[in-house]
């Protein structure tokens, strides 16, 4: 019997080996067409020359990268000094995205935990409630948020009516508004992976911790959080990466002082006044930063696993 099973296993394995590569063709085609080719086009464009009415001239140049990092004066003949404008925008994008990720985690983890610990019949309803607002277009949701928090908006009116504030709070065109927009845009990307992790969590571990006189919060910190860490990290990546390149929330809810890298890239490709090679170079720098961060994470995970 065992021999028969082993033979069946070997046979299945041979079939898989033969067709495995073939079965991967649609996946590789999709990745190639929708990911690698666009990235390759951006990479090539970042080394071309700017055309004045938008577009590119097919002449090799590193002017886009040079413009990003160095200031050579109005006519381009001055001694190069570090161009802090774009580096500042990058830095601002990183901390805005980081803060949005933290906000999503602080609200998303308890929410995911609460949902995952309901009776199985009601979990679907709770998840449904979390995802329903995301059936509405992102642009509509962002504009509705702008409408809510503007100076004469319903939130200020409510706070004035209750006597909580004496004059309207200025929230629009601030970092707070951008944070709120990013949080509002990407919250389910945090809740769903954590929920998935918590659902698989073995609660007998918590019972064992309780038997050893651990309080709930000690159990949360030393048993639960390490167990659901993969879900938390997946959620953080899923929120941080799109937040870093977001342009809708900074454009609609922020002002000039909250300009982010996504808006900078968008402006380079909009209308006839843009600079396509510069936009492509900024995209490539952003992509490189994200990839370095993910590679560090992968390396840390591999080291911890050993």
């Amino acid at each position: 019997m065992a021999g028969q099973m082993s033979s069946v296993g070997r046979s299945a394995s041979r079939i898989y080996d033969g067709r495995g590569a073939l079965m991967m063709v649609p996946t590789w085609l999709t990745i190639g067409i929708f990911l690698l080719i666009p990235v390759a086009i951006m990479f090539i464009y970042s080394f071309l020359t700017k055309e004045f009415r938008g577009g590119v001239i097919w002449e090799f140049s590193i002017a886009a990268y040079d413009k990003f990092f160095f200031d050579r004066g109005l006519f381009g003949d001055a001694a190069p000094v570090i161009e802090w404008t774009y580096i500042t925008i990058f830095w601002r994008s990183i901390w805005q995205a980081g803060l949005a990720t933290l906000m999503c985690l602080l609200i998303g983890f308890p929410t995911a935990w609460f949902i995952a610990t309901r009776v199985p019949q009601s979990r679907a309803v709770w998840l449904f409630l979390i995802t329903i607002p995301y059936w509405v277009n992102l642009l509509i949701r962002t504009i509705s948020l702008k409408f809510l928090i503007r100076d004469e908006g319903p939130l200020n009116q409510f706070l004035l009516w209750t006597g909580t504030i004496a004059e309207p709070l200025h929230m629009i065109n601030t970092n707070f508004a951008v944070q709120l927009g990013l949080f509002y845009s990407f919250l389910p990307f945090m809740v769903l992976p954590i929920y998935s992790s918590v659902e698989r969590y073995d609660f007998s571990l918590s019972e064992a911790a309780a038997d050893l006189y651990a309080s709930r919060w000690v159990t949360l910190r030393h048993v639960i959080l390490p167990a659901v860490k993969p879900g938390i990290i997946a959620g953080c990546i899923l929120v941080f990466v799109p937040s870093l390149g977001a342009f809708l929330s900074p454009d609609l809810l922020g002002g000039a002082k909250t300009f982010m890298i996504g808006s900078l890239i968008e402006e380079q490709f909009k209308g006839n006044a843009g600079n396509w090679p510069f936009g492509a170079a900024a995209s490539m720098i952003l992509l490189t930063l994200v990839m370095i961060a993910l590679m560090i994470y992968a390396r840390v995970q591999t080291t911890e696993g050993k």
Partner: protein, 36 residues
């Protein structure tokens, strides 16, 4: 009493945060819907 203190399925405050989360998600949409 002991089970209440060690029952990790019911963390104090998590239900409130879930309520806050739903409030944040639905308020802008509901207000726009009402105004429309």
């Amino acid at each position: 009493m002991a089970s209440r203190l060690t029952d990790v399925r019911h963390f104090t405050g998590f239900s409130v945060i879930t309520g806050l989360c739903l409030l944040l998600l639905y308020t802008p949409l509901l207000i726009v819907a009402v105004y429309s």
